[in-house]
Amino acid sequence: MNDMTKIEGAIEMNDMKISAKGVQVYYGDTHAIKDVSVEIEDKTVTAFIGPSGCGKSTFLRCLNRMNDTIDICRVEGDILLDGEDIYDKRVDPVQLRAKVGMVFQKPNPFPKSIYDNIAYGPRIHGLAKNKADLDDIVEKSLRRGAIWDEVKDRLHAPGTGLSGGQQQRLCIARAVATEPEVLLMDEPCSALDPIATAQVEELIDELRQSYSVVIVTHSMQQAARVSQKTAFFHLGNLVEYDDTTKIFTNPEDPRTESYITGRIG
């Protein structure tokens, strides 16, 4: 019996993809992220939830060093991707971001054709040897973004001409085109209508089979639908991190419970 439990547990557990220890983030003098430690698993959807301004987006942006673009932001602590510290001096953020992709809140396709939007990442990272290769990558990415059927006849139309939901799926396809290992999504559905949201959520579920997905969301229902692990942030602290079902049915910390029942946030 013990063996069986162990095997079951082994099947459930995935490798640790990102391991964050004692992360502090300062915006100038403001201490935005206070001593956060979390282990993100591979092939899993991890949700970051919490009230507005609690630091979830900030922490997310640390994972692919997007905070580097903000001058007054200072990050301390360790964040390891596959055992390597991403803030190591030898690490070029450009290479990091090929491995850790990001999808933003408001869909931001480039003012280029759909084809060029997807092809941009592979081109700059030199992932395709020739045009046929590139065509292949574009098609695969668009399929993975669950948008291929809708745009396969108009690959050279501008990306900005699509509807909101299509644009976001385009951005997701663009993000996977660089063959990342981790996919970060910052409130990907907040600018979309319910039908588009449903499409994207379905897509996220498919994506977790190949990538580690971290999604920041405002909607607890979405977190419950989509993720396997959930982290609850509050005022810059990571309050609780556990399986999604446990967080939503039997949270340990009273703050978590207050948030879930709607008393705060």
Partner: protein, 490 residues
């Protein structure tokens, strides 16, 4: 009565009207200010306005129209055998005017009585010397018809002025009384006055239209006059610019093309300097530079924009010219003959245009939304890749517009080319040769000694028309491109 004094009288009318109107308004409500619709001053202003404004408008029109009417009427008094062309008639008429002015001055100065002036006989008195004493210089003896025409003119002017004074005073008085009668407690004086002020504001705004109309008319009339004297086909197709100094057309070749070539060549050189430097500076300042660098470098580049073009012209003539000559002239490569050349002017013009291109591009690049850059960084692109492949294509319509505007500025530039590019009109490919431009020739033809009605002088207007149309076309094109292609990215 002169127009000046008329104006003073009208102003006095207005002032009196103000006081009376105000008083009457207050009187009509027995001094209780609260029962008046508007503040008392508005009632006063109303009367002043109605007394002054219609009269002044009529005065303005009269002052412009009267000389024309008198001119054409007096022209009929000149016997036809004295002149053959319109130009000669104009000369005679101007003599007539000067004699008339001179006689008036003599009367004012006490040298003649009014009677003597009206009945002056050219044989008895030396009129020319007399006029010389009051400051009117005449080139030759006065023809009797000219003298009689001058007398006719004097009478007509006097009559005209008399009628003017009467009409104006009547209008002013009428306005005055109408306004006074309107004044009572319920009368909405403020609305009336505000309508008047609104009219003034509209008039001020219309000055922009008037200016454009003025430019277009002054260019068109003189250009048409020019084409009457010189074949338009030659102007547009001749490859040579060689005005003869004898005036009256004849041996001049006045071809636009060599000048246009000089203008375009110099502008191209200037853009080759300004666009790369300006664009890259803008990219660096917008994307890479920290706030401290930006706060120092940007104002310094802006200083280049504030320097007057005469300074650049001198710089080209006295600094850059000799510098280039020492390198490319006979002691160096031997390509350059003199200090003035396309290169000299083009280089300096490029320096002048750098801040133009740079600050326009800076605005445009900053307008590209940050979300687009974030998307690119998120994919792992370097900053230069993002700028080259995402930001610049998005900003392209705006940048093209900026370059077109810079071109338009380069085409219209005068001082730098006058001083730095020389006066020789040439169709040459060597950028170290001196080549003059449309603008330089406009200046030289209009400030030279040519007689004003000759084609050599009038050609400047045709050149001006060409320039105006070119620059306007470029500006419209720039606006169109920006407006049309900008939709694509939001």
């Amino acid at each position: 009565m002169s127009a000046f004094w008329l104006l003073i009288i009208l102003l006095a009318f207005a002032a009196v009207g103000f006081v009376l109107g105000r008083g009457r308004a207050l009187a009509s409500v027995n001094g209780e200010r609260r029962r008046l619709h508007s503040l008392p001053n508005y009632y006063g202003s109303n009367v002043a306005m109605l007394a002054f404004v219609p009269a002044v408008l009529v005065l303005a029109v009269w002052v412009v129209v009267q000389p024309f009417v008198i001119n054409s009427s007096v022209s009929n008094h000149i016997p036809a055998e004295l002149y053959q062309t319109g130009g000669e008639l104009n000369l005679i008429m101007s003599d007539v005017r000067r004699v008339a002015d001179g006689l008036d001055l003599a009367v004012k100065g006490g040298m003649l009585t009014t009677d003597e002036a009206s009945n002056i006989d050219n044989d008895a008195t030396d009129l020319r010397a007399l006029l010389g004493e009051v400051g009117i210089a005449l080139g030759s003896e006065i023809h009797p018809s000219v003298l009689s025409a001058a007398q006719v003119m004097r009478t007509q002017i006097a009559t005209g002025n008399l009628y003017r004074s009467i009409v104006l005073l009547v209008i002013a008085a009428a306005g005055f009384f109408v306004a006074i009668r309107m004044t009572s407690g319920e009368f909405r004086a403020r609305n009336m006055v505000e309508r008047g002020i609104r009219g003034l504001l509209i008039a001020a705004a219309s000055i922009a239209i008037l200016t454009t109309i003025g430019i277009v008319l002054s260019l068109i009339f003189n250009t048409l006059e020019f084409f009457r004297l010189y074949p338009a086909k030659d102007f547009f197709t001749l490859l040579e610019w060689a005005p003869s100094f004898s005036g009256r057309g004849g041996a001049s070749s006045l071809g636009l093309l060599p000048l246009l070539w000089g203008t375009l060549y110099i502008s191209v050189v200037a853009l080759l300097v300004a666009v790369p430097i300006g664009l890259f500076s803008a990219i660096y300042l917008a994307e890479y530079a920290g706030p401290k660098t930006r706060s120092i470098a940007k104002p310094m580049l802006e200083v280049l924009a504030g320097i007057p073009t005469i300074v650049y012209g001198l710089f080209a003539l006295l600094t850059i010219g000799p510098m280039l000559l020492s390198v490319f002239g006979d002691n160096g490569f031997g390509w350059m003959q003199g200090q003035r050349s396309v290169m000299t002017a083009g280089l300096v013009m490029g320096i002048m245009l750098i801040p133009f291109v740079s600050s326009l591009s800076d605005d445009i690049i900053n307008a590209v939304p940050q979300a687009m850059r974030d998307g690119s960084y998120g994919l792992g692109a370097t900053q230069s890749e993002t700028v080259r492949q995402v930001v610049l294509p998005a900003a392209l319509p705006g940048i093209v517009g900026a370059v077109l505007l810079a071109t338009s500025r380069a085409l219209g530039e005068t001082m730098i080319v006058v001083m730095g590019a020389g006066a020789a009109a040439r169709l040459d490919l060597n950028p170290f040769e001196a080549m003059t431009t449309v603008t330089a020739k406009i200046v030289s033809q209009l400030t030279g000694d040519s007689d004003f009605a000759s084609p050599e002088a009038l050609v400047a207007f045709a050149l001006g028309m060409t320039l105006f149309i070119l620059t306007l076309g470029l500006n419209v094109l720039a606006l169109y491109i920006v407006r049309k292609y900008r939709e694509q990215y939001e």
